[in-house]
Amino acid sequence: MNPGGSAEPRLDLDDIQAHVLPGFGHEHQCLLGWRLPDDDPAPPARGLLAALADRITPASRGLHIRQLRRAARHGRAEAAATTPSSNEPHSSARHGRIDPAVLAEPPALAAAVSARTLRVLGHADVAAIDEAFAVGMARRSYLRDPPSTEWTTGGPGREIDILVVLAGDDPALLADAAATVSGAGTEAGCELVHEQHARRLPGDIEHFGFRDGISQPVLRGVVDDAGTPLVARTPMPPMPDHRAYAAPGDVLLWPGQFLFGLPRQSATDPTRPLPARSVPALARNGSLLVYRKLEQDVAGFYADTARMAAALNTDPADVRAQLVGRRPDGRPLVRPADATSAELNHFGYDTDAPPIPDGPRGATADPDGLRCPLAAHIRKVNPRDQETDKGPSAATLSFAILRRGITYGERYDHDSPGTADERGLLFLCYQTDLTQQFELLAQRWANNPERPRQGLSNGVDLIIGRVTPGTERRATLLAGEVSTMTDYVHPRGGAYLFTPSLSAIRTLSKANAP
């Protein structure tokens, strides 16, 4: 079913990296960043990419592994092997028995490169594919991040030219793989400037204690000649927000929003695609990666929200939930507290979400933020069906990103406060237009007290929003306005990178540029 009526494109799952689609769901990850030497940087770049080329995990493999991992986790492996669930990616696992060995197979691997790497390898056209990418994160001053000289990741002299993401469930296997890749990088002549271990917290929560990654766009696209969609579609009634859904809450987006060379999401029509952008062949099936290391001050967050709660004469847990827009287990504030797991994403802000037969109950809209504050993080970065300063709600879909973040550091122990360990989120996301996707969400909306909702000054996103240093951050919550001089999240640096297709990695690793 395609409510938009346009044919969905074939996705080359053997060419797209699995980190883009469907992402790495493993418990452990290790990020390794290399800087190319100043002198004669091309041979080391080619050397490392050549060593990586055959190890990179394609989307087809990633989908297969994810299917098996989910099935194993839910104790329904046999069922998953024979019956596709309504919202599971298509996978060959549907057609055969699970091989238990797959759960202990080598870690998944992704590789991304900087604009500099592309330039030194003779692909300046791809380096220029996006203005913000070409300039680099360190110079995008309107993000209001600390100056790059203060970065612990990707700062001057430690710029990440090639980033490798390794993921696995067995820490020992992951360490072995990281050592192998590190050796390859060193042998190629690259300098390891960044090594970051990460681990998902139980329940997929982030360090402030809230379940993360609930709302993700679903890509349109088919995976075979028979037209099997990447994600199976549940029959849905026409929705008042005019969008198309794969299932309740799972909004469908055209894949060019995240992968070059494919039809893109329109800013005016939620269902009909824009033609694919004309891009160099090397860019096809590739995607732009934002890597931003965000340290979280858990003690500061809890202390400051307790202070706010006392001033508002309310419960600190309510203040924290209102800053996020969800309760810790993911139930949205827009819905009553008895929301089920199937209802976490089926709601709108401007229009009532209808009940779905044999599915989630309907949800009443909350246009003016009377149940979920307009400044809540989830409203700031995803206004859903609500009109914004950027136009109709359809435009909001064209700003969506694919989030691939993972927590790092040990969980904060509230019984033993004062621990100096660093913890936070490795924010990773994919898109094809950094300015109109990541930067718009972070800069235009999260940092701006009057956007995205028009006409009402609602404050900044107090979770990630940034203002001029030394000035107060303010937000309107349900019981009143709160303000703070405390940042709970501290950007520690990162990079804008390009995650090429597997075929492009092979091309880049060869000596002769086209």
Binding site: G5, L274, D350, S393
Partner: protein, 460 residues
């Protein structure tokens, strides 16, 4: 309320002319109330009001409506190419092409084809990069949000607007000396009075062999004069960037609309298309329309806050820095408009700056185009609402719809209901079969047509 103030509360006028300006704006608002009454079936259903004519219970509730200053209609034609969009936004366009006519200077009975130029910067914000004539280096980048009407009023008084019904005792003459003073103060001391006025009669032809029709008389103020186009910037030039357009849009947007199935049209994109509320490609028009319409659907009556105007309300100074990361936030300076209602601002180095505009970085990119600053500039107008004890009027059907360009569906154009999309365009906002069936049923019913609110000022 006794009088409507000048945009930005500027003090260029003597008391008599100030009253004349108020009467002129009031006349426009009256005209808009009358037009709206025609649309909704009588004055009792109108929810747009002239604050000079309608007493409100208590102070008006204000609503700030904001949008991006960079012209979205230009950006949407350059998908994935922001640099291309910035270049295009800096290129003048022909006013004749805009209206589909050819302009002529008529002197001694001889007509000579001329080109009047305007900027395609149509989010009620236009800019101009002033350069050193000897070195070509940028000296300052100036931004304005001031409509042409106020400047035409300075030149010709209320008589410059013959279609506005200003009471005889409130008609006033212009103040050409003041107009010249402003040009010299804001634009260049080299401005000569004769530069500002047409030195011949101006006429136009709708077709190559059509009749010449009068446009402006010799001696009339020329909004497209060289000091407001190629050599400077005094006020807005885009035909749709007007104060009249702002009032017109707010009034038209006060009419609730319903789709073919009777469902209220609330989505910004659909509302603009349904009622032809300006240009569906712009950031400003859909935003203004939807916010006004939203207030009316809540049972409120709406107007524009005095002083009525379009304002430059925010500049994200974090986006700009010196070549070594120096803070250049102070280079942005409002220069016209009182009380935070900025009509004109400029970005220029102080006299002792160790580097110039070309060395400034905007998010890491060298400053080359004013559009880079417009991208981080916010525009606003201020709506006002009051509960006058009247429920929201019943919605009326759509009279227009949008078509999307086949090769770039984010680019929209308006057609009247019942018209086909032009070749190379298709119906925007594809509907479900259910909605399409309802639309077909309604197509057979009688509709009350309402014209586009963007009345070209060609003959105004």
């Amino acid at each position: 309320m006794g009088m409507l103030d000048t945009p930005g509360g500027v003090r260029d006028l003597d008391p008599q002319r100030l009253a004349g300006w108020s009467a002129l704006v009031s006349a426009w608002m009256d005209a808009m109330v009358a037009r709206t009454a025609g649309q909704v079936g009588g004055a009792e259903h109108v929810r747009f009001f002239n604050p000079l004519r309608t007493a409100t219970p208590g102070p008006l509730a204000e609503r700030r409506i904001s949008w991006d200053a960079f012209p979205r209609p230009v950006a949407v034609r350059y998908p994935g190419d922001p640099a291309g969009a910035r270049r295009a936004a800096d290129e003048f366009r022909s006013l004749g092409d805009y209206y589909g006519v050819t302009f002529y200077a008529v002197r001694d009975g001889q007509a000579e084809e001329i080109t009047l130029r305007y900027r395609p910067q149509d989010e009620y914000c236009e800019w101009y990069a002033e350069r050193d004539p000897d070195t070509g280096r940028m000296l300052r980048i100036v931004f304005t949000s001031e409509g042409h009407e106020y400047w035409r009023f300075l030149a010709g008084g209320t008589a410059a607007f013959p279609s506005a019904t200003v009471p005889a005792d409130q008609r006033v003459d212009g103040d050409r000396a003041q107009l010249l003073r402003l040009y010299r103060e804001l634009v260049s001391p080299r401005v000569r009075e004769e530069d500002l006025y047409f030195d011949t009669d101006i006429a136009f032809r709708r077709t190559p062999d059509g009749q010449l029709e009068p446009y402006r008389s010799r001696g009339a103020y020329n909004p497209y004069n060289v000091w407001n186009t190629e050599r400077g910037l005094a006020h807005l030039t885009h035909p749709e960037n007007s104060l009249y357009g702002e009032i017109s849009l707010a009034a038209a947007a006060s009419v609730p609309r319903a789709g073919a199935d009777g469902t209220p049209v609330t989505d910004a994109g659909r509302l603009v298309c349904c009622a032809a509320l300006g240009d569906p490609n712009r950031s400003s028009d859909p935003t203004i329309s939807t916010d006004v319409n939203d207030l009316v659907r809540q049972g409120l009556s709406v107007t524009l806050r005095d002083p009525i105007g379009l304002y430059i309300t925010a500049f994200d100074d974090a986006a700009v820095s010196g070549p070594g990361g120096e803070n250049v936030a102070s280079w942005w300076r409002p220069v016209r408009g009182a009380g935070g209602l900025t009509l004109r601002a400029e970005f220029a180095p102080p006299p002792d700056a160790p580097f110039g505009l070309e060395d400034v970085l905007v998010n890491g990119l060298p400053l080359e185009y004013g559009g880079q600053l417009a991208e981080v500039t916010t525009m606003s107008l201020f709506g006002a609402a009051a509960d006058l004890g009247q429920p929201a009027p019943a919605p009326i059907p759509c009279d227009h719809r949008c078509c999307a360009r086949d090769d770039n569906p984010d680019e929209l154009t308006l057609v009247t209901i019942g018209s086909q999309c032009p070749p190379g365009w298709h119906a925007a906002f594809e509907e479900t079969p259910l909605r399409q069936a309802a639309a077909g049923r309604l197509a057979d019913s009688t509709r009350q047509a309402a014209g586009s609110v963007r009345l070209p000022d060609l003959l105004a």
